[in-house]
Symmetry: C2
Amino acid sequence: MAWTTPQELIDAALDGDRRALARMITRVEDGHPSAPDLLAALFALGGNAYVIGLTGAPGAGKSTLTDQLITLIRASGEEVAVLAVDPSSPFTGGAILGDRIRMQDHAGDAGVYIRSMGSRGHLGGVAAATPRIVSVLDGAGFPYVIVETVGVGQAEVEIVESADTTVVVVNPGWGDSVQANKAGLLEIGNVFVINKADRPGVSDTMRDLRQMLELGGDRTWEPPVVPSVATSGEGVDETWRAILDHRNHLETTGELAVTRRHRLELEFRRAMIDEFTARAEASAGRQTLTALLEEITSRAIDPWTAARRIVADLAEESNRGH
Amino acid sequence: MAWTTPQELIDAALDGDRRALARMITRVEDGHPSAPDLLAALFALGGNAYVIGLTGAPGAGKSTLTDQLITLIRASGEEVAVLAVDPSSPFTGGAILGDRIRMQDHAGDAGVYIRSMGSRGHLGGVAAATPRIVSVLDGAGFPYVIVETVGVGQAEVEIVESADTTVVVVNPGWGDSVQANKAGLLEIGNVFVINKADRPGVSDTMRDLRQMLELGGDRTWEPPVVPSVATSGEGVDETWRAILDHRNHLETTGELAVTRRHRLELEFRRAMIDEFTARAEASAGRQTLTALLEEITSRAIDPWTAARRIVADLAEESNRGH
């Protein structure tokens, strides 16, 4: 139980110890000193998880649909992890917590792992933390990872960019709602689910949605629109089939390899910037950076000259350490 | 006319030579080798421009309102620069160009400078280029800079983040339109103008807008909602007064100093990352970076270890150069 090294933590997690897995995720979230080692070791084990993003306005029925998808995946004998992200909540869980309670139906099932994340303590924001946590779950061996988030703003759009297939959940009459960032959701959705399809207006919404999607222009993939009543399980099989169809499309066209490579490039770039920033702060010291910012504010120095100085100092300092 | 040094360019621009000013902006846009020197020299001269952001859906009447505001500012004897940004257009001008033609009413006026920017050739995106161009216009001595953009997505929201006061232009019946990113616009607006207020539905729109703004919670500034008919000049004085009220609010509460400092901090951070990236590419070489990315894609190395290697190499290389 006393996991002293990153490797011990990883071994325990791979053995199915959920507390070890939770500990690893917390360390990656918090930027614990062991986080780069954990990420590096898990990265070598990963690359096999298929990541499904699930987004939509609050109350659209995302969690119920997630619940049903979990049941479906588990029935096929596969394990699944769910990462529920609420960028608007400063606390882990937050508003999403109520929904999570329903998912506790799967609490006794060792093949399901559910994790909530709020915006607290993520220096680069939840959008930056999401791909890293997905990378942990991937390395830990889950063949499916569902990333669920409330889709209203840019942060949420960035969160589902970690996904291979993005499912957008709407309701009948969706076109009238003010809050939803419709243009953004239309752009990112690979599969659209009109949930609560037992309510009036479903055919209008379906027609509107298809029209708006057609305006999107010539794409190689035409996003299917699936009506569902997630509470009764209606349309869940069709949703899963649409996800698998999209996966098949991405694999046969080679798009999956291209977007995954692009995602890794972003992660590499982010890692370089983190590494550079950490070194610059350690080398120049926060005090120097703050003092420089004061000088910039009083226009005694400009941001570009100050930046050149910091980067040059970093090289100097680094060399002295050798 | 042969401006060979950055200082010659700056001197000419300060003397009122608009071609010299245009040349400086192009160099900053294109990342010309002299750009950092230009930015540095102009930064020392700046800090005095008041920046007004103007955004809204296509056809809302932004350019007509800008036109009227130019006339009003010029009547007070002050100079004004307009930066019109269209992030959706790959070309400078693009869709915005038609609107610009109207602004040519001011073409003979040496106290007005108008510049259009599309998304072409901006490595970090127009959102990153905007504050730098505003910084050039500020350094060139304009007391007012208007940044006009089509407000539909996140890029546009970021563009107006360069502004001290953001004016959001809507039309009666705005609540029904699908494309507008309403939540985003509500968040960023300091002044709301309901343009084309001679059309039906203006009182409903005004009520809806006020209700939505109230939901925004306890702010120290309550955004005024101004009805206008920009084509006839109706409501333009009121709009300008609302902008000056907001400026006064920002100055008396000290908020202006805080947000400007924050903006400079972002610029400093961005400059450090640019400087670091340029050095890393020059030091490691693009080939090495591409080769590392190949290794990452095949999972032979992880992004974090690769990043550490690049930053360490940068320090080495930099030292050998000394």
